[in-house]
């Protein structure tokens, strides 16, 4: 399913948040994300992904959240890809 938002503007410029029905559980590799609504279980495979996911709602865009977490711009494409997947699984959503 392609979200309308992703065709309107780049994900980096989009204000995002964790879906309210999602719980994060810290693990050595990063975290597990579980969506109580669609019952998907997703692996966040890097601690930096977890850090960014947790503060998404506090920043005006994904890019700002990445910057705030000190993620180097060279790594942004892989984070954008990962958050696109999370958006498709409804783990994160546009706010």
């Amino acid at each position: 399913m392609v979200c309308a938002a992703s065709t309107e503007r780049p994900l980096l410029d989009t204000p995002l948040e964790l879906h309210p029905q999602v719980a994060l559980r810290p693990e050595p590799f990063g975290a597990l994300a579980y969506h109580y609504g669609n019952r998907r279980l997703i692996f966040l495979k890097h601690p930096d992904m977890v850090a960014v996911a947790k503060v998404l709602a506090e920043h005006p865009s994904l890019a700002e959240a990445l910057r705030a977490c000190g993620v180097a711009e060279a790594r942004w494409p892989s984070f954008t890809a990962a958050f696109t997947n999370l958006q498709n699984s409804e783990i994160v959503r546009e706010r």
Binding site: A23, R25, P28, R39, K45
Partner: protein, 385 residues
Amino acid sequence: MSVESLVSQLKTGLDAPICLTWELTYACNLQCVHCLSSSGQRDPRELTTAEAKQVLDELHDLQVFYINIGGGEPMVRRDFFELLEYSIGRGIGVKFSTNGAFIDADKARRLTAMDYLDIQISLDGIDAATNDAVRGAGSYDMARRAMDNLAAAGFVERNGPFKISVVVTRHNVDQLDAFKALADSHGAQLRVTRLRPSGRGADTWHDLHPTNAQQRQIYHWLLAHGDNVLTGDSFFHLNALGEPLPGLNMCGAGRVVCLIDPIGDVYACPFVIHDQFKAGSVRDEGGFARVWKQSPLFLELREPQSAGACASCGSYDACQGGCMAAKFFTGLPLDGPDPECVGGAADEMLRTVNVGLTPKPAMDHSKPVTLGRSIGRKPVPVAGA
């Protein structure tokens, strides 16, 4: 991080299980010939309601997202709904397995009204003859009635698809398409899992498990339908045939999976109810968390495992040597091939195993065989059943 490195991380264990099975009772109205837990009669040492709630409190603290409840037949516990509501109230979703006997119209409505609830109805044949041969007389109608009651109550519309859970045997392999059609017609989702030689299954496995040709049939069927069919990752031993099936392709026992049995004992997985795989009890000091995090058995399972006799086989990376429980209860070495190795590596070994000496399950809760009236005896009522 690649999938491979994620899997290697998972093998060293998680802070809490992803997939925790909790058999609530050994009591069951049925006596399926392949029952993993040799269920039938209630164990007098069964966890009380208060103890069960304590376990749920612990699971809440460990951030276990959901639990898989089974049995026995979990709905025979008088506090079944109380525990369900308590679990869901603590943010722990519940998926429970049932034979459907107790899902009448009223219970179906009650279940439909609950959040974070998933139901798996067991069905091992697409017709009464195939199903009842394994699950007992009347069990097919029981399951179909439960499905109809859930559908009539609007379960699917409110909670999403319930599951129809099929253990694949020699006699129902050819029915996979029909099972899928049945699930689709009810808005349900099909779940197919592997037959294990565990519990009473140890006695029936040799007659029921799919043949080598049928293993291939299952593999190709899952490749074609795997995205829409749940398997509990149970067929990873078939990955030796080529392209991997969907899933993590690893044995999760003690690493991401475990079992709490009705009396609170914790085992590495639902298929190994045997002292060798018992890690401790939720009744021990420190409770479940301590067993999960510190039991010597689980710590050992999280160490790198030896490929043993399979080390020189080119398919080992794909099949991982298969299922620990399947090897154990068929008398094969744990670092040897799976008894259903598609390369046939276990065939010769199985022929030489002394079946009388294979490990027996830790407990047997099977009901005594009822003597017929012709012998002049009345069935004795069982207290508390």
